[in-house]
């Protein structure tokens, strides 16, 4: 017996399984990052001295990274829209662009970390750097996780597109939801860490 609603929407919820699943997962992610934000707020309010982010961190680099990540979100959503228009070639193009943006984000992040390390600024330096490294590091891990899944879909996608086009479109939608969420977290991380 097949598991129902892997492709079609269940009438009463209006959802297919994976879509509900990813939103539940994202809800748990909200709580994960919520705890980390709460940590940052608590430590910062309790601290005698806490530097402004722009005094210590590289704002221009992070701004570029913000553009890169926003762009990757657009390409992701375009790659889903192309699939819904049955244009697989365009979908692939956009998905590759998304992957490359993710890669670009990580490279820039690496440069940022590298400069900090070369100035002997580590997580153990003080709680400002501890929160900076932990929050951006965990966010970076989420980006990498998303890139791995996107790469997997790039490599195996055409086969699935041929056998189960609707299921594949659903998959891209679900991965897109995750990817946009990672973008959304950055949208909050960026001002909180770098600009305040």
């Amino acid at each position: 017996m097949e598991i129902p609603y892997t492709i079609d929407d269940r009438p009463d919820t209006g959802l297919y399984n994976a879509k509900l699943g990813i939103w539940l997962f994202l809800a748990s992610e909200v709580m994960l990052f919520g705890a980390l934000f709460s940590t940052l707020v608590l430590l910062r309010t309790g601290a005698d001295y806490w530097p402004h982010g722009y005094e210590k961190l590289n704002v221009p680099l992070a701004t570029i990274n913000t553009f890169v990540l926003i762009a990757s979100s657009v390409t992701m959503v375009m790659s889903w829209a192309s699939l819904r228009l049955k244009d697989f070639r365009k979908h692939r193009l956009y998905l590759w662009l998304t992957f490359l943006c993710g890669l670009g984000f990580m490279v820039i992040k690496g440069i940022e970390y590298g400069t900090k390390f070369s100035h002997h600024l580590y997580p153990s330096t003080d709680n400002f750097y501890a929160t900076y490294y932990t929050l951006t590091g965990l966010h970076g891990l989420h980006v990498v996780g998303g890139m791995v899944v996107i790469l997997y879909l790039l490599l195996t996608g055409s086969r699935m597109w041929q056998s189960q086009p609707e299921r594949f479109t659903n998959r891209i939608e679900v991965v897109g939801l995750y990817w946009h969420f990672v973008d959304l977290v950055w949208i909050f991380l960026f001002p909180i860490l770098y600009l305040l």
Partner: protein, 643 residues
């Protein structure tokens, strides 16, 4: 549900590739039933192991400074014996599971497996008493701390929750809602394969230098930040276990919303499913903050950050070389943000099991089903905003204490609603006193004691006296041990015929129940006496050094005797469990004459892939026992579809 006409073809197709390879069928299985059993067996092992840690502690408390009897000799035995036993066990087990053995050879293999397993288990426990932990069999204080921390961790995260959710939830929930499997079978498999390594990491941590985590199951910093490396293992183990829980909860919630059979509206859902649904939401939203806290503590330990390290901390006369500025209180908030909802994770599915067993064995509908459902939802919601009642003594302030006292008093209301509804459900029933029912009935007063003794702990003024005394230990053990674990036993006896197609022995079941009930009360009831007298928990010598404890110290030996009686009382259960798998009375699909789908619509055990021979369509509520206007004794939830 797929179109009914397709069914015969689908069934035939599955008969086609019936013979799956061994590893796919038993090890990396994606069938919720096999995964449920994997969870169940692993968790029962950890339940027994956690129980043995407690037995060691109780020896030390009753007879401080005396060597642990019997196990001493095994501690220093050569490893060759262990490897040999492992090899023999593996060969015999694989031989048996392939299912080709017959007659005397089979009997021999069973005997070998039994002996090797018992030998390995006892050796595992004995090896904990190494020279570093217990020279000459005398338990060292450092080792006592490990026992306490790991007993709590193992019982909560590796035994009870995996049994309730991983095992019963996984096996029973899809069956009760008429689904062919979980919504995401691969995720389900991944969940088990995060749980098992998490458990193994916890076990292995006993054998690293400095031993296992020894900062309590709560792992409060700064103590846990400067503890030996066992704490790092604990954190890695926890991250794996949390991941496993998250995967599981996403799966459970999706399954309940998406895969209910046709006609199974939410108000026709068996109460067990409601309990699982709310529990999954608790796991989904409460665990991530602890995962975050775990990551932060890992950073503190491995990267030298100071999230939980205050400035100017002095350890052994030395100021610690850390940046400082962290907040130990932050950990407590993040920890209890999970750990209080976790209490309801421990109790809600247990109530679910008890509700099923009681409805079935009183042969009448549950009283106040809807009230129970709403109470459960409310309970789940409130459980997120009561956590800081664990922290009244941290100096976090009176305004926030006042808030949490209020919410704590409020949350006791829905618990009482559920318990009362279960109690009133007994009224006027034609009760069958079989083993599952006995355990379910015992749950009611035991949980009642546990719950009501919690009230003084929820009020800051009385908590100041009782905090961290044996009273607290007595309170939460009444909730979890004779409460939840009795419900788990009820569940095992109740659903065993569904798992195996055979009933467990009633006589042995009663031999298990009555001594367990008496013994477990001997263990926990005196804790209230000691706690009220002011004996603190986590004391290595059980309170010998304290003048005010002298009056109540004699209870220590009594409680320990109770604990050893409790061990003896489990022997009939363990024997019954394994013996009944092959030799128990053979039963049909529905030996308890139950109404819910897992009994009424599926064979025992259910169809390997897909559960139901025919897709059930639900037409009525879950507990239509003794319907007044019908000439039948019970009405199943579904009407069988004509093939």
């Amino acid at each position: 549900m797929s179109v009914p006409e397709k069914q015969p073809a689908a069934v035939a197709e599955h008969h086609g590739h019936h013979e799956e390879p061994f590893w796919k069928k038993y090890i990396f299985s994606q069938d919720h039933k096999v995964i449920g059993l994997q969870y169940g067996i692993t968790a029962l092992f950890f339940l027994m192991f956690g129980f043995c840690l407690m037995l060691l502690m109780r020896w030390q408390l009753a007879f401080p400074g005396k060597p642990v009897p019997l196990l001493g000799g095994l501690a220093s035995m050569s490893r060759l014996f262990i490897y040999g036993a492992l090899l023999i066990l593996a060969i015999a087990a694989v031989y048996l599971l392939r299912g080709r053995a017959t007659g005397a050879v089979r009997g021999l293999a069973v005997a070998v497996v039994t002996l090797a397993s018992v030998f390995l288990f006892v050796t595992l426990v004995a090896r904990l008493l190494s020279d570093a932990n217990a020279p000459g069999g005398i338990i060292l204080p450092e080792f006592y701390n490990q026992l306490g921390a790991m007993h709590g961790t193992i019982m909560v995260f590796l035994a009870v929750v995996p049994l309730l959710v991983g095992a019963f939830g996984n096996y029973v929930l899809p069956l009760q809602i008429g689904a062919p499997d979980m919504a995401f079978p691969k995720l389900n498999m991944a969940s088990y394969w995060c749980y098992l390594p998490g458990g193994l990491v916890m076990l292995m941590s006993f054998f690293v230098p400095g031993g296992a985590a020894n900062s309590g199951w709560t792992s409060y910093p700064p103590l846990s930040n400067i503890a030996t490396q066992g704490q790092t293992w604990w954190l890695f183990g926890m991250v794996l276990l949390i991941t496993s829980s998250l995967l599981g909860s996403v799966n459970f919630i999706t399954t309940v919303f998406q895969l209910r059979a046709k006609g199974l509206s939410f108000m026709r859902l068996p109460f067990f499913c409601w309990a699982q649904l709310v529990t999954s939401f608790l796991l989904l939203l409460a665990f991530p903050p602890l995962e975050a806290a775990g990551i932060l503590q890992l950073a503190d330990r491995l990267l030298g950050t100071s999230f939980f390290m205050p400035s100017g901390l002095v350890v052994s006369g030395q100021v610690l070389d850390v940046a400082g500025g962290g907040s130990p209180l932050l950990w407590q908030h993040l920890f209890w943000f999970l750990a209080h909802p976790e209490v309801y994770v421990l109790i809600l599915p247990a109530m679910g099991i008890v509700a099923e067993v009681i409805a079935n064995n009183t042969r009448k509908p549950l009283w106040g089903y809807k009230a129970m459902v709403y109470a459960t939802i409310f309970l789940g919601f409130m459980s997120f905003i009561v956590w800081a009642h664990h922290m009244f003594l941290t100096g976090m302030g009176t305004s926030i204490s006042a808030f949490f006292q209020t919410t704590t008093m409020i949350i006791s209301v829905p618990s009482v609603v559920i318990l009362t509804a279960l109690l009133i459900s007994l009224w006027g029933g034609s009760i069958r006193f079989n083993t599952p029912m006995l355990f379910a009935l015992a749950f009611l007063p035991m949980f009642g004691i546990g719950g009501l003794t919690g009230l003084p702990l929820g009020l800051a003024p009385s908590d100041i006296h009782l905090h961290d005394t044996y009273y607290v230990i007595g309170h939460f053990h009444y909730v979890v041990a004779p409460g939840t674990i009795f419900a788990i036993f009820a569940g095992i006896y109740y659903w065993f015929p569904k798992f195996t197609g055979r009933k467990m022995s009633e006589a042995l079941g009663k031999l298990h129940f009555w001594p367990s009930l008496i013994a477990i009360n001997c263990v926990f009831m005196p804790m209230f006496i000691q706690g009220l007298a002011g004996v603190s928990r986590r004391l290595y010598d059980g309170g010998q050094q304290y003048a005010h404890a002298q009056e109540v110290l004699h209870w220590n030996a009594f409680m320990s005797a109770g604990a050893y009686m409790l061990l003896l009382a489990q022997i009939p259960f363990i024997f019954n469990f394994f013996w009944s798998m092959r030799r128990g009375e053979k039963v049909g699909a529905n030996p308890w004459q139950a109404t819910t789908l897992e009994w009424a619509a599926a064979p025992s055990p259910p169809v390997a892939h897909g559960n139901f021979p025919q897709v059930p369509v639900v037409v009525r509520g879950p507990y239509e026992y003794s319907p007044p206007d019908e000439d039948v004794e019970f009405l199943p939830q579904h009407t069988p579809q004509q093939a």
